[in-house]
């Protein structure tokens, strides 16, 4: 054996012992037919134990599979981002003989002489003629003494409308955190040199699941409501029908702040609580505000039980909120909302109900409206006749007074019956139609403000 052979021997020894992977990748010829083997070595070596080899192979395969699984887990944890969105287009019409709005002025205090000390008195509901899932009304009418942006302003004319375009960005931040956002675009006609079009950051929240069981979530940002149950289906692709309920204005608006939601006892008990700048409202009398005008925050909570019964899921519980009225200065009286909701759902049938009371004191200095929601409630049922065809029925009422000092008073004793049809071709293509009859009770004169509306939702 010469010097060169010995050098290769040394190198081979080192590489074989320290880098088996490299040795495996080496050409077969080098490993088996090289002349480094001793001439004195026996021609036939005893075969290695095949069972031991198989075990070693299995061990190697197990290790590789574990590494593959680990790599897959890492890959999935790398901030996946998903862009979602939908477009909601509709066509609507309001009752002949009306003006597209849901209220009337009590000129001369003929209907309500007891309120003759108030400058302007109105009856009906500004939001009675809702035409889409946003709660936009066909027309806001001609209310004296205010300058309102009438976003649809169709008066009493049937009209097509691009109800809403929405873009959402969702990002997984590891296995325990999720960022959710959506921006709504509402293309509208400009008036009086105002553009008309608007966009609104609807939700922008970070959800953190602090525990491995995934039953607790902590939210921060512009978060969804904790009041009632309607907020869970407030957007067009989620809503079985088209229009929100008469109570949605108090319960379905997102608010900026902190929120926590947790499920206990094998998901039979659900607790939710939040501290936010304002209340979970959407009404344009502004009982809510994204950026607070006072130091006192609004606290909200909901307790619910959830049970599996009769082939479905039953959930019910009270909820409420309490805090300084939005827009009012510090020290003003507190605004509160309290109610109870219930829901029963099977894969084919669903029924839900809610009752609510609310009060806001108003503020004479800052001209904030007061609210006295004496009673409000709804009962809604939906049924899938076939996987494609679904029917909706809803009955509701609202008894409320909204007042601005001694200047304006809105008196509402309104009831509404709604029937709807939904055709769902796939989760991305839905067509809906709805008819709502609005009526007045308690001696208030009737207003012709029924609504027929349709909606085509295309989601991705």
């Amino acid at each position: 054996m010469n010097c060169r052979k010995s050098l290769w021997l040394g190198l081979g020894l080192a590489l074989t012992a320290s880098a088996p992977v490299a040795a495996q990748n080496a050409p077969e010829e080098d490993a088996s037919t090289g002349d480094t083997s001793s001439e004195d070595a026996p021609a036939e070596e005893p075969e290695p134990d095949p069972v031991a080899q198989a075990k070693a192979m299995q061990s190697r395969i197990d290790e590789l599979e574990a590494r593959l699984e680990s790599a897959e887990r890492v890959r999935r944890a790398r901030f996946p981002v998903k862009i979602t969105g939908y477009g909601d287009l509709g066509f609507f019409a309001t009752s002949p003989g009306g003006d597209g709005s849901g209220f009337r002025r009590d000129a001369g205090h003929v209907v309500f002489p007891m309120h003759s000390q108030i400058a302007w008195v109105f009856w009906g509901d500004l939001l009675a003629t809702m035409v889409n899932s946003r709660g936009d009304v066909a027309d806001l009418g001609e209310a004296p003494g205010v300058d309102r942006f009438d976003s649809v302003n169709a008066e009493n004319n049937p009209s097509f409308l691009v109800n809403e375009l929405s873009i959402g960005i969702n990002a997984g931040l590891g296995e325990r955190a999720l960022f959710t956002s959506s921006v709504n675009f509402t293309p509208r006609t400009g008036t009086d040199f105002r553009l008309g079009d608007s966009f609104d950051v609807d939700v922008a929240q970070l959800e953190w699941l602090p525990f491995a069981d995934g039953h607790t979530s902590v939210f921060i940002g512009k978060v969804d409501s904790v009041i009632g149950i309607e907020y869970k289906t407030r957007k067009a692709p989620q809503r079985f029908g088209i229009t929100p309920t008469l109570l949605a204005r108090y319960t379905t608006g997102p608010a900026v702040g902190l929120k926590a939601r947790s499920k206990f006892l094998n998901e039979r008990l659900i607790l939710a609580a939040s501290v936010t700048n304002g209340s979970f409202g959407t009404e344009q009398f502004h009982f809510h505000s994204e950026v607070d005008t006072n130091a006192f925050k609004t606290v909200s909570g909901r307790v619910a039980v959830r049970l599996k019964i009769a082939g479905g899921t039953f959930e019910a519980g009270p909820s409420g909120q309490w805090g300084t009225q939005d827009g009012a200065p510090d020290g003003a009286d507190k605004m509160w909302t309290a109610g109870v909701d219930a829901e029963f759902e099977t894969s084919r049938f669903g029924v839900r109900a809610q009752w609510l009371k609310a009060k806001a004191p108003g503020d004479a200095v800052s001209q904030m409206y007061s609210l006295d929601l004496k009673n409000g409630g709804y009962l809604e049922a939906n049924f899938l006749v076939t996987p494609i065809i679904g029917l909706l029925g809803r009955a509701e009422f609202r008894d409320a007074q909204v007042q601005q000092g001694m200047e304006r008073l809105y008196i509402t004793k309104n009831w509404r019956a709604t029937a709807g049809l939904r055709l769902i071709f796939n989760p991305n293509a839905i067509i809906k139609a709805e008819y709502s009859h609005n009526g007045e009770y308690g001696g208030l004169p009737s207003i012709p403000d029924d609504v027929v509306t349709t909606s085509a939702v295309m989601a991705f």
Binding site: C3, G10, R75, G214, P427
Partner: protein, 337 residues
């Protein structure tokens, strides 16, 4: 000192230096103060022989690994395997296969003979049916015991800690799959929630709910996404690799299903009390595995004697159902329920 011997010592020193540099733990573990013995011709030859031995072992492992990978490639539908080929695993102690039909892709019409999820297995592995591809080394087949007629035994016992939905199967017997099984979507749940199928089985996922579902799995090598479909529609997946396949719905996070894909039809479901009975196991030493959802499989080797009943007790430790991510790799969040 002669020149060749000097050269060898230099070479050995070089190799040792590299060894020390690349395997420090081995180097540091040497006792200090021990002088190295002088290198002899016998030492060199011993080392050369050791290297040759190691190279042979490595070659053999590489060959086995290649054979295993080729088998996996053959199983892939694109490779024409159709997911139902008889594949010899790397374990050399394969004893039997259960493939009465020729290997190859089967048509839908031919597939409907697999064991149903709740049925006891009808395994009848037949050593005579053992077939191999032309280029493969034939697997070793243990002959049946000469004094026995069937060559098969029965395994009975109990699985502790599994609760319901516990399965026991023979891990080292590979047989061609086929057949069909069904996991329904009903009441926003998978029904059955847990099932076992033989590798190569086509699993149907019919939607019987009035709402849409989107069945998916991210289990490596068995991942799939069936997309959204409504009531009355059904989609299917052929389970091409043995292992546990976790199945979810992208719309309803509470929907969780587990499919245990086993290598042959030699499996059975233990009763609620944990007792099981697995007949028709070929005689010989076998690896027996017990599995339950959210539990790591437990395995033991057992010698099966022909025409006799062998008992085996196994333990499994079940964990809780952990939250899973949706098909995009994100948490579902609090409200997707």
């Amino acid at each position: 000192m002669s020149s060749p011997l000097y050269s060898r010592i230099v070479a050995l020193a070089l190799g040792t230096a590299i060894l020390i540099g690349t395997a420090p733990h081995a180097a540091w573990s040497q006792p200090r103060g021990v002088k190295p013995k002088p290198v002899t011709q016998a030492d060199i030859e011993r080392l050369e022989k050791k290297i040759a031995d190691q190279q042979r072992v490595i070659e053999k492992l590489i060959r086995m690994q290649q054979q295993y990978l080729q088998s996996l490639v053959a199983l892939m539908p694109d490779a024409g395997g159709g997911g139902t080929l008889v594949v010899p695993p790397p374990q050399p102690d394969v004893v039997a296969r259960n493939d009465p039909k020729p290997a190859g892709t089967k048509t839908d019409a031919q597939i409907d003979t697999g064991p149903k999820p709740n049925e006891k297995p009808v395994g009848k592995p037949d050593p005579k049916n053992t077939t191999a591809k032309p280029n493969e080394k034939p697997p070793e087949v243990k002959p049946p015991a000469p004094d026995k007629k069937s060559g098969k035994g029965t395994l009975v016992g109990k699985v502790k800690g599994g609760g319901g939905d516990t399965y026991v199967y023979v891990a080292d017997v590979v047989a061609a799959g086929g057949g069909a099984a069904t996991m329904k979507q009903e009441g926003k749940q998978f029904v059955p929630r847990v099932m076992a199928v033989q590798k190569g089985t086509r699993v149907e996922f019919p939607n019987q709910d009035a709402v849409f579902h989107n069945v998916f799995s991210v289990t490596p090598d068995n991942s799939f996404d069936l997309g959204s479909y409504r009531q009355g529609e059904s989609k299917s997946v052929t389970m091409s690799k043995a292992g546990v396949v976790s199945v979810y719905c992208n719309m309803h996070p509470q929907m969780v299903g587990h499919i245990l894909v086993v290598p042959s039809n030699l499996y059975t479901r233990a009763g609620a009390d944990g007792f099981y009975r697995l007949p028709n196991v070929p005689a010989g030493k076998h690896k027996i595995v017990a599995w339950a959802p959210n539990a790591k499989p437990t395995s033991m080797e057992v010698e099966i004697t022909a025409d006799e009943v062998t008992t085996l007790e196994l333990d499994v430790k079940r964990g809780r159902e952990a939250p899973h991510l949706n098909k995009d790799g994100m948490p579902y969040g609090s409200y997707k329920d």
